[in-house]
């Protein structure tokens, strides 16, 4: 701040940045920013110091500083996790289920948004939209209740229908492989409507002139979809894909926990339920914090990787 220039009215630029004038002008905005920053600091950053538990022998009554370091230079619990076949199985299931979710669940909201966009009857479009959003607001416990009523082998509606028609009951919920299908199906059903909102918003932002020009040139409905709508929402799709990839090792807790049962555990145990069972219920806090940390680190690597790739291919990325 050596060369303070006075009397400048326009915003100072990089070379001779006038901090004083800048803050005098914008301090209220920064003050407003303070609230969300405080929130992040208190609830997101300060608790982060407890990831240290992953490297320490956790004790209920000692403070973080007092807990002794774990063996093997603090990495004892990571070694233990990777020797635990349940963890490895949960890891495999998490990646598998999330990949399936991504492959099947990611395109469906896009397709749904494209279809909705083509609908011209307004009330019909609104009705469909509302119906599609609704499952998003149901808790997974309720969805499992519905699933039991529909798909249970003896008392489920669908299976009763099948057996009454002379078929054999399909073990939607109790066969480990079929369960995966049910899990993905229910997940897609619950979220595709809600996830399509952001695409609809992006589509709404495309200039109608483009469509008019295309019509003049004789483009049909699918041509317009392919050459205008999709490119128009490409950057939105990429951003969401990056976020989804960042979550490839993450897993929501309530969905797998509510849907799993003892007959399908081999495919249904994921990292979040593993952490719950062994950490919260089994009191192995250090081990499960290590698992959680591992999950986060891999998630960040995926996120950064996807972002880097997307920039490489000329897209904007999320930074």
């Amino acid at each position: 701040m050596k060369n303070v220039t006075s009397g400048e009215t326009s915003l100072p630029v990089a070379k001779s940045f006038n901090w004083k004038a800048y803050f005098k002008r914008y301090w209220q905005l920064y003050l407003l920013l303070l609230l969300p920053m405080t929130y992040l600091l208190v609830f997101k950053y300060i608790p982060m110091k407890y990831v240290l538990i992953a490297f320490k022998k956790y004790s209920l009554v000692q403070s973080l500083g007092e807990m002794p370091w774990a063996d093997n230079h603090g990495f004892q619990y990571f070694i233990q996790a990777f020797h635990n076949k349940d963890f490895l199985n949960a890891l495999k299931n998490t990646v598998g289920l999330n990949l399936l979710d991504l492959i099947i669940g990611f395109p469906i909201p896009i397709i749904f948004a494209l279809i909705l966009n083509e609908l011209n009857v307004k009330w019909f479009k609104k009705t469909i939209q509302t119906i599609a959003y609704m499952p998003h607001f149901l808790s997974w416990v309720i969805i499992y209740g519905l699933a039991l009523q529909l798909f249970a082998p003896a008392t489920g509606f669908v299976n009763m229908l099948i057996t009454n028609l002379g078929g054999e009951a399909v073990p939607f919920l109790n066969d480990p492989h079929k369960w995966v299908g049910t899990y993905i199906f229910l997940g897609v059903w619950q979220s595709f409507g809600w996830n399509s909102i952001i695409y609809l918003a992006a589509i709404a932002g495309i200039s109608p002139e483009l469509y008019e020009a295309a019509s003049v040139d004789g483009a049909g409905r699918f041509r317009k979809m392919w050459h205008i709508t999709l490119p128009g929402i490409k950057s939105t799709i990429i951003v969401l894909l990056i976020m989804a990839l960042g979550n490839i090792l993450g897993s929501a807790f309530d969905r797998p926990f509510a849907l799993q049962n003892h007959l399908v555990m081999q495919n249904a145990e994921v990292l979040s339920t593993f952490v719950y069972r062994n950490g919260i219920k089994g009191l192995q806090f250090s081990l499960t914090t290590a698992v959680g940390l591992f999950q986060s680190v891999v998630g960040v690597i995926f996120l950064l990787g996807a972002n880097w790739l997307s920039r490489k291919f000329g897209e904007r990325g999320i930074w």
């Binding site: 405080t38 208190v42 209920l60």
Partner: protein, 554 residues
């Protein structure tokens, strides 16, 4: 100007927020500094305050678990007798372990905690989160007459660790040492002209008859017929069958070594028992959907109440519990006056005896004080007060005319309190409040037995009597090994419990041809996930204490 005011106000709000966040810091606290010199005639000079855990069973129409006639009685009594204020903290019954874990981890556990899970207590004790009761009992033991009389050294010192003299928890007492029984629809047996079964084969024949006569028994609901029902926790729900296949001459050592899984997963003979269940399942004798429901789900109870279930195994008084909402009372209302479950006793072992493995007077609920308890003496006095036979009696039967009446033969019959009243008992005989006593105890053995049959409003006392009798026939009580702590068990309880349930469930539903493969794989998984390490350590520590002996002398 306006903008500035808004900004200033926001800044103030944030400032307050920061102060509020930073304000609370919980320090460590060991045992309190109370001494018996603070007591005058058993009363504290200054009023003390303690918190006590109580289960919330979440039953429709229950009274508030922390504020009802019985909590009032305890609060009043404790204040008058010891000048101690009691506050109850409710914990959901079906997720008690998780809930207590959370409360302990956050330093907010009640001063007096109870749980069925000793491993939970042990884990927290290892972290320094539990008070050692031994020194307290050494110091104040003489003043705890009721506690000593009621629990005796067996229950008080059951968990005493010989290697270091620690006592992390004392054991509440089972007043009635009965465990599990088989129940069957008496009206169905009568309709089909069948006798009550006396052997497993006869039991099986009854199930087949139920299945084959579903049209006659259930009419248009024939498809809903479930001859034998199990649900979540299949190992427990078929315990009598499993135990009947075990070697009757099993040694104490063998029983202990394989005893970590109390569903007897790794005992010899269990595989044969599960094979029987597998056959039954594939023959359509067992509820097809049983494995899809989770603990606490009431679907199976509802099926029993609606009259679709022919037979099941459960706690010896299960169909009689909950008064007018009991399975028995509902069945009568929904199906007809003659519809009812009766106890049968038919799972005979290779010696032809219907042996039942029951617990000792201990091994039930464990009471412990977390390290955050600053009033250990007041807490001990609470346990003493709650163990007074008079107090137990009152809590279990309430007021004459309101919650019980006295019959001609002197038996005390519990009557259901009016709906919505503060007198409603949320647990049978209020066992959730008489934490040192599980089961009816009226201070006089004969009166207790006589009254026990009458303590289930909504059920015929004769049916309860039959259950009482069968449940006490051929019992084999558990013994206290008192070996050193098994380190390999730490933190494994939940993971292995799930493995055990997976083993039972997947084997029962396996195709008959796959049974061996499925069972062996599940057992292999259980053992390699820590089960074997526990067994090995149990063998080693048992032998360290008893040498080559295989029997525990008590």
């Amino acid at each position: 100007m306006k903008k500035r005011i808004v900004a200033f106000a926001l800044a103030c709000v944030m400032g307050l927020g920061m102060v509020a966040c930073g304000g609370k810091s919980s320090g460590k606290s060991g045992g309190g500094s109370t001494g018996s010199d603070e007591l005058v005639d058993g009363k504290f000079k200054e009023t003390k305050h303690i918190t006590v855990e109580v289960y919330d069973r979440g039953i429709d129409g229950q009274s508030d678990p922390i504020n009802n006639m019985y909590t009032d009685y305890i609060k009043k009594g404790m204040l008058e007798d010891h000048n101690v204020e009691v506050e109850f903290v409710s914990v959901p019954r079906w997720t008690e372990t998780e809930e207590i874990n959370n409360l302990l981890a956050s330093g907010g556990a009640p001063d007096i905690c109870l749980t069925y899970s000793f491993p939970t207590i042990q884990t927290y004790a290892n972290m320094g989160g539990v008070l050692d009761m031994k020194p307290m009992l050494d110091e104040y033991g003489d003043e705890l007459t009721n506690l000593n009389n009621w629990l005796g050294d067996t229950n008080i010192y059951w968990n005493l660790k010989e290697e270091n003299g620690n006592l992390w928890a004392i054991e509440g007492k089972r007043a009635n040492n009965r465990r599990i029984l088989t129940f069957m629809r008496k009206d169905w047996l009568d309709k089909l002209g069948l006798e009550e079964p006396k052997t497993i084969d006869e039991f099986h024949d009854c199930l087949v008859a139920f299945r084959d006569n579903a049209d006659e028994l259930l009419g248009k609901d024939a498809k809903k017929m479930v001859p034998f029902s199990i649900s979540y926790d299949a190992g427990w729900r078929a315990a009598l069958l499993i135990e009947s296949q075990m070697d009757p001459k099993i040694t104490d050592k063998e029983l202990y070594v394989n005893g970590f899984d109390d569903r007897k997963l790794t005992q010899k003979g269990t595989k044969e028992a599960v094979k029987i269940l597998n056959d039954w399942y594939n023959d359509g004798l067992i509820w097809k959907d049983f494995a899809l429901y989770t603990a606490g789900d009431s679907t199976e109870d509802d099926m029993m109440k609606a009259g679709y279930v022919g037979a099941f195994q459960h706690n010896w008084d299960y169909p009689f519990r909950n008064g007018e909402d009991s399975i028995q009372a509902n069945l009568k209302r929904m199906v007809g006056d003659d519809a009812k479950y009766v106890a049968v006793d038919c799972f005979e072992n290779s010696e032809g005896k219907t042996l039942k493995y029951v617990d000792s007077t201990a091994g039930d609920r464990k009471i412990f004080f977390p390290a955050t308890n600053e009033e250990p003496l007041a807490s001990l006095l609470y346990l003493d007060w709650i163990s007074d036979p008079e107090h137990i009696k009152y809590l279990q039967i309430g007021d004459e005319g309101k919650t019980h009446k006295i019959l001609d033969d002197g038996a005390i019959e519990v009557i259901a309190a009016p709906q919505g009243s503060k007198e409603i008992m949320n647990s049978g005989n209020n066992i959730d409040y008489t934490i040192t006593c599980n089961g009816l105890s009226l201070g006089d053995e004969d009166l207790t037995l006589l009254s026990l049959a009458h303590s289930y409003p909504g059920s015929d006392p004769a049916d309860v009597e039959q259950a009482i009798e069968y449940a006490a026939t051929n019992t084999k009580p558990d013994k206290n090994e008192k070996v050193q702590e098994i380190v390999a068990e730490n933190g494994m309880g939940e993971a292995l419990r799930v493995k055990s349930e997976v083993a039972f469930d997947t084997s029962i539903v396996a195709k008959p041809a796959d049974f061996d493969k499925v069972w062996d794989a599940a057992i292999e998984d259980y053992l390699s996930s820590g089960g074997q390490a526990i067994i090995d350590e149990r063998i080693q520590k048992f032998e360290a204490k008893y040498g080559s002996a295989t029997t525990i002398e008590e």
